[in-house]
């Protein structure tokens, strides 16, 4: 019996008990769609988290003043909140002392009122150096970031976040315009490209000025030359831990610290955050996929069940086919094709449903679902495999039926 004949017969058999076949197919379909959606949800969440963490910048180390052990309460006041200085920033930026550090962006910020004529808007103004856009992974929409020269001369230049520029100047081109802070006039030299919001900070409502300008005109702190945060960018992902070592050693030396446990600064790495979050979501994904796999297994047992029923029901037909010259192999193939077709149809529909869900659900859930094509094709292959594997036993039973007994069956 040719393959086309076998397939035609198998499909006819599926049609002849349509309701049962549909239910079995739904079982497979749910399993496959569940696998695609859970894998997609896992990957999507992972992507969301890494994106929100890496919106800080890439390969980043963050140095904050204060002892890393201060949380224990014992050294709460030990590390002064003014312990980081521009000298630290300059030292870390030295290529000879810290070859694995690509750039350093010190930051000090405070909220002030920006004025453009009658319009005023309160935003966070940050003092920093010219390497800030590089280190914080920001690009400019208009104009350019202030230069190193204007940073050194404490020029009255300012770079605005897109939202701040919008609030102060409307839709007009902001670059080249001027604004005042505390009656001091600043020239807008650039506007940052939009970045969106991270969890609690609006990354588009801010203003950036040279650090010296900040210290001279804006800072309200009594400790006038202190830096609140140092962002350090490593040369690459691989040198991140080397950069960490260099930063720690250099800062300890500069601050005259011999015991690192009592350091007056703490260094954290966003990559550590990413990898922790990734590990958590990976575990979650494995769990979800495990549940989906169980759903798929149940679907497979459904296929086996329907095939066993089909064999029992058609014992007489099997006997007849054997009497008419069907070899055991032909009978086995016929039932395997039938089981595989159930798996295939369930699989194709399941992949369709899974992908549709992956494309539409994010709107409702607010979390992204990544369609993983390997997972989709894997699931499809698994569906066909399930049909095949769970069809083997019923098909073999059918093939082994003795023609006499099968014909006698009522």
């Amino acid at each position: 019996m040719s393959w086309t004949e076998t397939i035609r017969t198998g499909l006819a058999a599926i049609r002849s008990h349509a309701m049962r076949s549909v239910l079995t197919i739904v079982g497979i379909l749910i399993g496959i769609a569940a696998v695609i959606l859970t894998v997609g949800l896992g990957l999507g969440t992972q992507k969301d988290v890494s994106e929100s963490i890496s919106s800080l910048g890439s390969n980043l180390l963050i140095v904050r003043p204060g002892s890393s052990t201060s949380l224990e309460g014992v050294r709460a006041g030990f590390g002064s909140l003014t312990s980081l200085t521009m000298d630290d920033a300059a030292a870390l930026g030295s290529k000879t002392a810290a070859p694995d550090i690509a750039g350093v962006a010190p930051e000090a910020s405070t909220a002030v009122s920006l004025e453009n004529g009658d319009t005023n808007w309160t935003a966070t103004v940050t003092g920093t150096t010219a390497s800030w856009p590089e280190v914080r992974s920001r690009t400019l929409l208009q104009g350019e970031f202030f230069s190193e020269a204007s940073a050194e001369t404490a020029a009255n230049v300012i770079v605005l976040g897109s939202e701040t520029a919008q609030e102060l100047f409307g839709t007009a081109w902001a670059t080249g315009r001027s604004l005042t802070i505390d009656s001091v006039t600043y020239e807008v030299v650039g506007v940052l490209a939009e970045r969106g919001s991270s969890d609690d900070t609006n990354l588009d409502d801010l203003a950036v000025v040279p650090m010296q300008t900040y210290f001279a005109n804006i800072s309200t702190s009594t400790a006038s030359a202190s830096v609140q945060t140092l962002y350090i960018q490593a040369t690459s992902q691989d040198t991140l831990s080397a950069a960490y070592q260099e930063a720690e050693t250099l800062l300890a030396n500069l601050h005259g610290i011999t015991d690192l446990d009592s350091a007056d600064f703490s260094i954290s790495s966003q990559d550590a955050l990413v990898s922790t979050a990734t590990a958590v979501y990976r575990t979650l994904t494995v769990l979800l996929v495990g549940i989906a796999a169980i759903a798929l297994l149940v679907g497979g047992i459904g296929v086996m069940n329907i095939m066993l029923v089909s064999v029992t029901e058609r014992t007489r037909e099997i006997g007849l086919r054997k009497a008419l010259g069907a070899k055991p192999g032909a009978i086995r193939r016929q039932f395997l094709v039938e089981a595989t077709a159930l798996g295939l149809v369930g699989g194709v529909l399941g992949v369709g449903l899974g992908i549709t869900g992956a494309l539409t659900l994010p709107n409702a859930l607010g979390s992204s679902i990544v369609v993983s094509w390997p997972a989709a094709f894997g699931a499809l292959a698994v569906a066909i495999g399930i049909g095949l594997v769970f069809g083997v036993y019923p098909a073999t039973r059918a093939a082994k039926l003795a023609p006499v007994d099968a014909l006698r069956d009522e």
Partner: protein, 237 residues
Amino acid sequence: MAETHVIRLADVRKTYSNGDIEFQALRGVTLDINAGEYVAVIGPSGSGKSTLMNILGCLDVATSGRYEIGGEDVSQMDESQLAEIRGRRVGFVFQQFNLLASMPAWRNVELPLCYAGVGPAERKRRAIAALQDVGLGDKVNNRPGQLSGGQQQRVTIARALVTEPTLLLADEPTGNLDSSSAREILDIVDQVHRSGRTVVLITHDRDVAGRADRLIEVRDGRILEPNKAALAAAVER
């Protein structure tokens, strides 16, 4: 053909065992059937008649003894080889018709040709020709449910003959039919026989058996004296 015996059974025995209980359904049957013969096998139920039919049709194998069909010894064949022999040598006509309800008549008739590896166009041509031979040329697309009992049995005969088998094996072909349909079917069987085919008909009905050239009576797993006179005498009693 040098071999004139289509069927040769030599001391065929069949024992069924169910746990400790052994039942001898056939206790040494020796029988030759010549090409072109029309043989009726009769006997009461439990006589071993059905077992004999199963062995003749290669649906079952003998426990011991030798069985040749068309010169081929099937005693030692495996299930796959037996299927091949059945497809090529034997055409079955069952009491229950055993047609597949979901298929039109011609699909039912072409089924044995599917397993024999005949191409689709050739299959359809031969199936329709076979249906025409049994007078159903206008019903080729009807499903079994749309046909009368007699017509269904004619489809079965067409299906049995489409492979041009060595042996037509009919098991109570009129058992489920009214008398006029039964006559119709027996007339077709006569016609098949006249066209030169070997026919073995199994029945418990002596009137049906009366149409055959030769009678074989089975009783307790053995063959009684196979002659028409003995039968006639039996009918008399």
